[in-house]
Symmetry: C2
């Protein structure tokens, strides 16, 4: 289907990862998991759904007529359309398990360059077709769901995986021009021979792209200081329906509001990000990481506050509550994973002062772990890290048992944190029990920290029923957004708004700003075809939820 | 004129500082300065203009009728109108010296709260009056000049000095809610009893305000890492003609494009910033600063590159070329002022590694200066610092002799820096000589540095004629903007765009982004009354320069 040879390796439509790497179905093992899940949540039994196959989905015929000049880069193959109609949110995975496809994209396009993207947007604008940019499809917030309301003649999904090259490296300035459709591992593989790294490792690293990271303000490797992708962007190119827009490559500027900052977080509503100049790093040569245990989570949080206000800027400062860390830290202690790294200098002075602060606050640790090679991968912290990377793979099997398991992440100033955490935890446990009638589990960790507050990340679960779990999840999700925004948090710190967080976004962001954003979008996307329903409705179109969360 | 007692101390309209602190006129001394200036630039003689008085200006009658409910907070006093019709740009000061007022504001308002600001904006929108928000009036880019074209019935200037309080301090999160009209010294004085500081010290510190810093993306104390005011803003309140807009107070967020980042750098075109939650600091207790000398400026720049890419984040990393540093470093050596500070930990490890890098790159220094108390204020670096703080005061006297003396600042990636610097220096010397027919002086320093490039700050001078100097300056200014933008720099790193940089801004920023910005503005300011001519024209109004710089 294309002149350019690009692996057309298929994503797994029903769960995390590549289709060809999915574990073979093992019905006995799944039943065993269902028994375990049922027992854990105090339920007599749970019956797992079997693994779905493409043929089991009722996928409507494509509604669009591909113009002749675009035919080579487009496909209406049902399997491709299925993969691209689902992200990795709870309802996406639950729908896949249930053989349901609430909204199907009509076509998947694999453009190879900006001219092809522009041609696709021209066609879509002329024919009133909604366009969804698609990076790795790892969204956990409904960012790629073709749920665009009923005012469009169809929906096409632009898969950008063919824009996968590091185009240029400026060693002097330590920056690289990189195409937006490149997946994390490919990006690092292309930088590595030159001694560089972007050092952006979100949990979705293998299945997300540079363009997706920029469009969603992804949060990555660094726990402090440089937390969001935003900090690493030097300039952006974006193909909008009104033309190509490019920002100037600059280390810093004060010339009016930042153009890049209006594109970062735009989640596809302004256009398609095609490339960016990115600030890259020398590969770190000095590294150290140490687990620290605390008897009390809030005491641990106070320690993290001191660390974040010290301007030592630890690379890793992940605090994990006792229950979430129980597999590696015994269940009695909250665990802080504290790490520093540098490509320039030994990190001893930084680590020494950080551990002084930790000791002052009552944390306990075994310094000898720092003597080990790759201390960041060793011991309890390393075990937790491995479990963390495997978690997304196990999730779809758990969901097939009716387990409602999801996460949400936020940020809050330190003054509000203890009450915020306590009330969210209580409220979530309450709503999960009410909705499912069974036990609940709610845990918390910090993914990123700032001098003025942490970014807490909550993981929750409760056992629903396979037939009712999507509706049950919706109730729980609405409650989580309600409590987070009511208590002053953000509805997302780095997962993005997508379609799922829109009610919370509307609570949180001033309607005047949303109006201004809508107006700005109208200039770049005059017919309102770009990713409708994300963040705001296009002018004169009704797509998403508006008003209070009760409407949802 | 107001219930609330606020010092109505007057700014000096013809130069820097407070009117009551201006040196008394000394004609003999001014003549001596003129002789010195003439000699320096190879001219037989120069005749200084005498100091202007308010009565010498022809100030047109105010064109606006103040509604009764607003009368208490408004004045049409000619002295007040004169002060508020001029900033501190070269043409502002030259016009003052020449007893010229090209554009006069019709009225100065001193609102005390948001309700009064809203009432003023309502009146202005109803009566088609342009509104210019005024902080300290220290703009060097024409940001407050009432040059709004001929489509308005008048211009009013909103002086925000009565919004001068630190309203709330959150010690836990280290943040404070602060009114936007507060001047630098008042802000620090109100934080100090609590042990905190904002630590934002632009050269204009005494005569600029929090709101002005945010609206112009001011650059301050920190040479690396946290360079712009942007980094210290937690949330903003802004009164727009469409209503009050407020962002949520958050340590970090990924919920769509940042609302704050659209207001930062908006320079009054969106509305009037009234208050902000700001990230404040513990007062630093560990400080060290050391001057480093280099025989070659580009070798020094390479050293700064290494420092900026080390992630040591020096607080001060100001590189000053040999000519600019000649008063304190002999004229043969470029001088780097390298400093670290911390409220948490001794800075030795940071300074040690930085000095290793410096030594590796051939810089010479005397470590013993670090033993001195207040090393940051001692020796050559301290002398330079004092001269730097006094420079704005001397400038108006020099301009009264016909000296065209100005600065411009930019940023550029490291790969382009040497050619950028060489070509700008050559081009500026050439154009100054051509325009003035006399000698020229062009020097450079770095004010801020990033891993991917420096922010070079150029100071230039040439001796014009008092009667022709504004036109001569315009030619030189156009040339500086042309060369900076042609070579890939930004037309401003932290001085702002104002009216003076608009042609360069238009070269630099994609027209599609400017369209989007105009649309966003239209929602917040539907009748286009807010600071017209800054950055962009309001929709359906023609105010400023558009197109190429040749139009200017």
């Amino acid at each position: 289907m294309s002149k350019k040879e690009v692996s057309m390796r298929k994503m797994n439509f029903w769960g995390w990862g590549w289709a060809d790497e999915a574990e073979p179905e093992d019905v006995a093992k799944d039943k065993e998991m269902a028994r375990f899940v049922a027992e854990s949540y105090g339920v007599p039994e749970a019956e797992p759904l079997t693994r779905p196959r493409v043929e089991e989905f009722s996928i409507p015929d494509s509604r669009v007529q591909i113009p002749a000049n675009l035919r080579d880069m487009c496909t209406t193959d049902p399997h491709e359309r299925l993969i691209h109609s689902l992200g990795k949110s709870f309802p996406d995975i639950a729908n896949a398990a249930l053989r349901q496809l609430p909204h199907a994209t009509d076509l998947v396009a694999y453009p190879e360059d900006e001219a092809q993207i522009a041609a696709l947007l021209d066609w879509a604008a002329d024919d009133n077709i909604a366009v969804i940019p698609f990076g790795g499809g790892s969204t956990v917030c409904g960012g790629v769901d073709p749920d665009v309301g009923d005012s469009y003649a169809g929906v096409i999904t632009l898969d950008l995986r063919k824009l996968d090259q590091v185009l240029e490296i400026d060693k002097t300035s330590r920056a690289a021009r990189i195409q937006a459709g490149i997946l994390g591992p490919d990006l690092e593989a292309q930088l590595k021979p030159h001694g560089y790294t972007l050092r952006h490792f979100p949990q979705s690293f293998e299945f997300s792209t540079l363009g997706g990271w920029i469009a969603t303000r992804s949060g990555g490797h660094y726990a402090s200081l440089y937390t969001h992708m935003d900090d690493f962007v030097e300039s952006i190119r974006i193909v909008t329906p009104a033309g190509v827009m490019e920002s100037r490559r600059l280390p810093g500027s004060g010339a009016g509001p930042s153009p890049d900052r209006m594109m970062m977080g735009s989640e596809g509503i302004m256009g398609v990000i095609t490339e960016a100049w990115m600030r890259i790093q020398d590969r770190p040569t000095f590294k150290g990481s140490i687990p620290v245990l605390f008897k009390d989570f809030y005491q641990a949080a106070e320690t993290v506050r001191a660390l974040s206000q010290s301007w030592l800027f630890p690379t890793n400062c992940r605090l994990i509550d006792a229950e979430e860390a129980s597999g590696v830290a015994g269940g009695e202690h909250a665990m802080l994973v504290l790490g520093f790294e540098s490509a320039d200098h030994p990190i001893d002075a930084w680590m020494d002062r950080a551990l002084e602060l930790v000791a002052d606050h009552g944390g306990s640790f075994d310094r000898s772990v720092l003597e080990k090679k790759d201390s960041n991968k060793a011991g309890a912290a390393g075990q937790w890290r491995n479990a963390f990377m495997q978690a997304p793979y196990a999730r779809s099997r758990a969901i097939a048992c009716g387990l409602i398991v999801d996460t949400f992440e936020t940020a809050i100033t330190w003054d509000k944190f203890p009450e915020f955490h306590a009330e969210i935890t209580a409220q979530m446990n309450k709503v999960i029990r009410e909705v499912t009638g069974n036990n609940s589990r709610v845990t918390c960790r910090f993914t990123h920290v700032y001098p003025d507050g942490p970014a807490p990340y909550f993981t929750y679960s409760g056992l629903g029923t396979t037939s009712g779990m999507i509706e049950q999840w919706r109730e729980i999700k609405a409650a989580s957004m309600e409590v987070v925004t009511r208590l002053g948090g953000t509805v997302t710190h780095h997962h993005s708004v997508g379609r799922d967080h829109r009610p919370g976004y509307e609570q949180q962001v001033d309607p005047l700003f949303r109006d201004a954003l809508q107006a700005a979008k109208s200039r770049l996307d005059p017919t309102g075809i770009m990713n409708p329903g994300i963040l705001i409705d296009p002018e004169n179109r009704k797509v998403g939820q508006t008003g209070t969360m009760a409407d949802r």
